[in-house]
Symmetry: C2
Subunit: 397 residues, 2 copies
Amino acid sequence: MLPNGITFADRFNGISGSAIRAIFKVLNRPNMISFAGGNPSNDALPNEVCADLAKDALLADGKRILQYGATEGYPPFLESLVGYLQANYRFPVEKENVLPLSGSTQGIDLLCKTLTNPGDTILVESPTFLGNMQTLRIYQQRLVPVESDEQGVLLDKLEETVKREHPKMLYIIPTFQNPTGRTLAAERREPIARLAEKYGFLVIEDDPYRDLRYSGTALPPIKEYDQSEHVLYMGSFSKIISPGLRVGYMVGNAEIIAKCAIGKQGSDLHTSNVSQAIVDQYLRRNLLAPHISEILPAYRDKLNAMLFELEAFPNGTTFTHPEGGLFIFVTIPEGFNAAEVFKEAVEHGVAFVPGTSFYPEGGHENTLRLNFSNSTLEQIHTGMAMLRELFATKLKT
Amino acid sequence: MLPNGITFADRFNGISGSAIRAIFKVLNRPNMISFAGGNPSNDALPNEVCADLAKDALLADGKRILQYGATEGYPPFLESLVGYLQANYRFPVEKENVLPLSGSTQGIDLLCKTLTNPGDTILVESPTFLGNMQTLRIYQQRLVPVESDEQGVLLDKLEETVKREHPKMLYIIPTFQNPTGRTLAAERREPIARLAEKYGFLVIEDDPYRDLRYSGTALPPIKEYDQSEHVLYMGSFSKIISPGLRVGYMVGNAEIIAKCAIGKQGSDLHTSNVSQAIVDQYLRRNLLAPHISEILPAYRDKLNAMLFELEAFPNGTTFTHPEGGLFIFVTIPEGFNAAEVFKEAVEHGVAFVPGTSFYPEGGHENTLRLNFSNSTLEQIHTGMAMLRELFATKLKT
């Protein structure tokens, strides 16, 4: 019960917390097979390496790490991050274009804080990542979905929607999208940068999965086509080193970055220096590329195992065929209600996320998101067999 | 320059970034004696201990530390934090009353986000901590100062202001206040809790300095008198272990805490697990009390050295006599402009913070804040001698 005389802010009307975070609590049950969440595999988390890196960094530069730092970043990390970006991307990056973040979701929060007023319009893919939809909603943004196909956002629909809605931003996950695993086609990337420039809206390019590619060829981020600084690029070390460290970053227009730094001052002041120092050491010692190469084969096997199991699902089931990332999106024939079946699945020891949560406009009750990275091959086979049986029963009745 | 067609949010009108953070950049000059900032002494930062704790924790529980965690906290830390609070405070605390924060400023951000609408009124001390004033302003709060004397907020003025202004919250630093170093008198503490209950506003009790007491007797926090859950208690490990780890916490009404957790989901998701694990180890191994005992004598000596130097300042100079914390607040005779003298002082190699930045209503140009914790005794004697000479010159002209 709230204290006498106290009420919550208007911006929280209708905000109930992320469905995924609530599901997390169920997952602590013993023997639960979880295809929910978006966790990296525990096997891919380099804790012994990080133990040494943390100790080395705290012995070598511990006074600076433990002291207050600059909002703009722990200087060695900022330096190695800029070097990493210059080596891996073809967009221009100097220190003033980069802001270290406590996870890339913080970037969405800061962009909303610094750039949007309540009632502004944000275009989003449909479905899209529900966690960041919640962030946008807390800032009282009006979310307008843009139609997509298997190749991502449809350019003519996007331009039509931009003309009609005058959006402040487009929020897009172009590569191995959450929740679909889809990748925006190469030929649709440059035009999005051009539309942003033409109509004067920002593109938030959220790209945390790009290095988890199991087949096919890497595509340039939209940011590489950005000639007018309308694209803000959000990266993260959560999926390739560790989410528990909470280290991501944002790249873009220096004036927007500086304003976001002021917003960050007023929130966490700066990202944990010890987390920044661990990632710095990871980059500085060139551990990242070999680590990614090491973790990819197991992820590829898990994706393939789950796709194989899906082939045997009830007639009429369709699903995406991602070339990377962490997710497969499944559509069961009409009439199936994933949220209802979810409860029963959990009783049988298997969890997933009902797809409806990812649609800004709701509906699509017959869809679900599956994560393969955080289960063993055996769990994938067992859990998917269970779901197949359960779904088949539901479709008969 | 901003990209074409893009403007900043209305909430950033008039927000220019913390004066202290801007001053930080000056401090990197070699040989600068800094009485600005609020940094703990580098000598008080236990980097070798933390190096071992980080390594041990990452070896013992590294998969959980590096994996996504709960917004509600890394479970071992949450457990040791609750135990620490139960052992050290007489207010009731269960897990649902506590939220780990990425520094206690994040608590101000989350309380504004979850509880306030633009245009709400927040009562603040005058002067008060400028960093958190900025956070409140970004949420478009109307800051109304409450008159204080040497014993802190005046109760009759507080009640009068509450009746007139109908505030949503009172933001107060009762112990070794920033910037004054003052402590709210014992007999004014319970009445503040009663006023909050009577008039239905929240008290944000920001208490990061309480363990840095060099003389006198500890006073109960306002929260210990709170019978109606109108007080939100903000604590921090920044001043007693390390600010660079970014670990603080908030204690209060379970429903408000749960709503703040939803707000935190949408920002940094959770505080760095490695930072939480280091503080957990610190608490779990009972290292905190001995560490505080170890660091107090040097802080006491520094405070006394600075107070001694202030005695020789030009006639008419007054200053606070704190029993703890990090700051002394100085008032120079009228006509003195601390912001103007600041530039000259920096040229002479000594920095402080002009007091005007701490007043919500501005003015008070003849005041300044001095920090003693982050300088050596020699720097205090040298730097204060320089300021004394410089100030004397200014007062003559």
